[in-house]
């Protein structure tokens, strides 16, 4: 495999764009990434578009707006990991030498569903019996609180940290700070979660241009190297399982660290899949930032806040930046690439050299998660 680099990134501020089509939401992010990379349209050999609910031919609908057509376009669905999985396909294509330059898009328009919880596949047994994503994470939280003594106040502090970071990100859906009390008194969604424990529903798009590192010098975009690109599916388990151990993330992290030749101690900035407050804490442990049951300490002593030793979700994460499902994976990469280039202004992680993105999801029976994708980048 040839080494692959990201040479351009772009995204639009996440939010609600009811009046726009999926294609209208996405093209500005794509154009931004192309300009950032300094590539011509004709330099792009292939495009991969990740979306969970965007419908048929999403990539073609987006790219015809910019006249990027006639090339191979592949649409990728993998729930929350859709665009991070699309990124991996681009990494394989370029790394294998089939393509020199590839474009990755992540896009979602959730406002078309009119709000509420994310629509899940009704053929699934548990979904047909009333499982919704907040309830699934709510049960994880309930069990974790039982097993490790996590308090409701500590759980609320995840949202407080997230909003503090999001306030510094012009692309974030929520840019206001909140207090522990406000989090705990918001309206209940799925206990122990109130509204402020849950990522918002919304729309958004993000894009990246990748190329073989050996030709990155031909383009003006500042390259960031891809050290590891990893996608996994969950293991189907019919029996008892420990819901406080996200097994797919534990496995994926081992693989990604091995591929990259780095460990958690070497990573300077993390973007993790904090769809709900408990998730961020579970992923501190699964990604090796601390041992089992120790996540709250990392949160409370500031280790994972901006200014701490291991900042997690400087973008505000899914809780504040927003979670337009299929767009999230590439949006995390946009943040990490900008962090590694030193472009993040007031939320810059000083001296960041290595960054990790972690994107997982898919609520189906018998799985911890359906899919998980972990990437590691370095400048």
């Amino acid at each position: 495999m040839r080494e692959v680099s990201v040479i351009g990134v772009g995204m639009i501020p996440f939010g609600k764009y009811r009046e726009k089509t999926l294609a209208e939401i996405a093209w500005p992010a794509v154009k931004q990434a192309i300009i950032d990379a300094g590539v011509k349209k004709t330099d792009i050999n292939a495009a991969y578009c990740g979306t969970a609910l965007g419908g048929m031919m999403s990539g073609q609908r987006v790219l015809k707006q910019l006249g990027i057509t006639g090339l191979p376009i592949v649409n990728v669905e993998n729930a929350c990991s859709s665009s991070s999985s699309a990124f991996r396909e681009a990494w394989i294509g370029v790394g294998a030498g089939v393509y020199d330059v590839a474009l990755v898009i992540g896009v979602e328009k959730l406002t078309k569903f009119g709000g509420g919880t994310l629509p899940l596949e009704k053929e699934d047994f548990e979904v047909a019996h009333g499982l919704v994503m907040p309830a699934l994470y709510g049960m994880r939280a309930q069990r974790y609180m039982h097993d490790y003594g996590l308090t409701p106040e500590q759980l609320a502090k995840v949202a407080v940290k997230s909003r503090k970071h999001g306030a510094l990100n012009p692309d974030a859906q929520f840019r206001n700070a909140v207090t522990v009390e406000e989090v705990m008194k918001a309206r209940p969604i799925a206990e122990p979660f109130t509204l402020l424990h849950c990522c918002p529903s919304g729309d958004g798009a993000a894009a990246a241009v990748v190329c073989a590192s050996e030709i990155a010098g031909r383009f003006s975009g500042k390259p960031v190297r891809v050290l590891a690109s990893e996608v996994n599916s969950g293991r189907y388990m019919t029996g008892y399982r420990d819901m406080t151990t996200p097994e797919i993330t534990v496995r994926g992290a081992h693989e990604a660290y091995e591929l990259a030749g780095v460990g958690p101690e070497d990573v300077d900035v993390f973007e993790v899949h904090d769809a709900f407050t408990i998730a961020e804490l579970l992923y501190y442990e699964a990604l090796g930032l601390c041992g089992r049951g120790e996540a709250a300490r990392l949160l409370e002593d500031g280790t994972t806040s901006l200014g701490g030793k291991k900042p997690v979700n400087p973008s505000g994460g899914l809780l504040s930046k927003g979670h337009p499902v299929g767009a999230t994976g590439v949006a995390q990469m946009v943040e990490v690439v900008r962090q590694l280039r030193g472009e993040c202004g007031p939320r810059q992680v000083e001296g960041a050299r290595v960054g990790l993105t972690h994107c997982t999801g898919g609520g189906i029976s018998g799985f911890d998660h359906g899919a998980c994708s972990i990437h590691i980048f370095a400048n």
Partner: protein, 116 residues
């Protein structure tokens, strides 16, 4: 009233699952037999759900119940106050109306309730 829940047991490798399936996810055998499941189990985790798609009666308590046959069942916990629920408490099988289905018909299902 739900008399019992039926899962599957693989006649070749012994794998047990719920809901039942025609093929074994462990060994791909199609020799699957019915497995009557115990009416009592323990509550692994729960969440009081206030926001759900149209049709479901909210709030409801969603939970996972572990049965002695080594299967875990997603369920609603009914006739229970949230403050009486405890991890690993004993629960027993019952049935309940959970709302209105997409077809407009009553959504009746198995459920579990604290074993008092």
């Amino acid at each position: 009233m739900t008399d019992e829940l039926i899962g599957s047991v693989c006649q070749d490798c012994g794998a047990r699952l719920f809901p039942p399936a025609a093929v074994c996810p462990e060994c791909m055998s199609e020799r699957m037999a019915e497995l009557p499941l115990s009416r009592e189990g323990t509550l692994y985790a729960w969440s009081v759900v206030h926001v759900a798609p149209k049709g479901w009666k909210t709030p409801y308590i969603a939970g996972y119940v572990d049965l002695p046959e080594q299967v875990r069942v997603f369920t609603h916990v009914v006739d229970a106050r949230p403050d009486e629920l405890q991890s690993d408490m004993k629960v027993r099988l019952t049935s309940a109306n959970l709302g209105i289905g997409e077809d407009g018909q009553p959504l009746d299902s198995y459920a579990f309730t604290p074993a008092r």
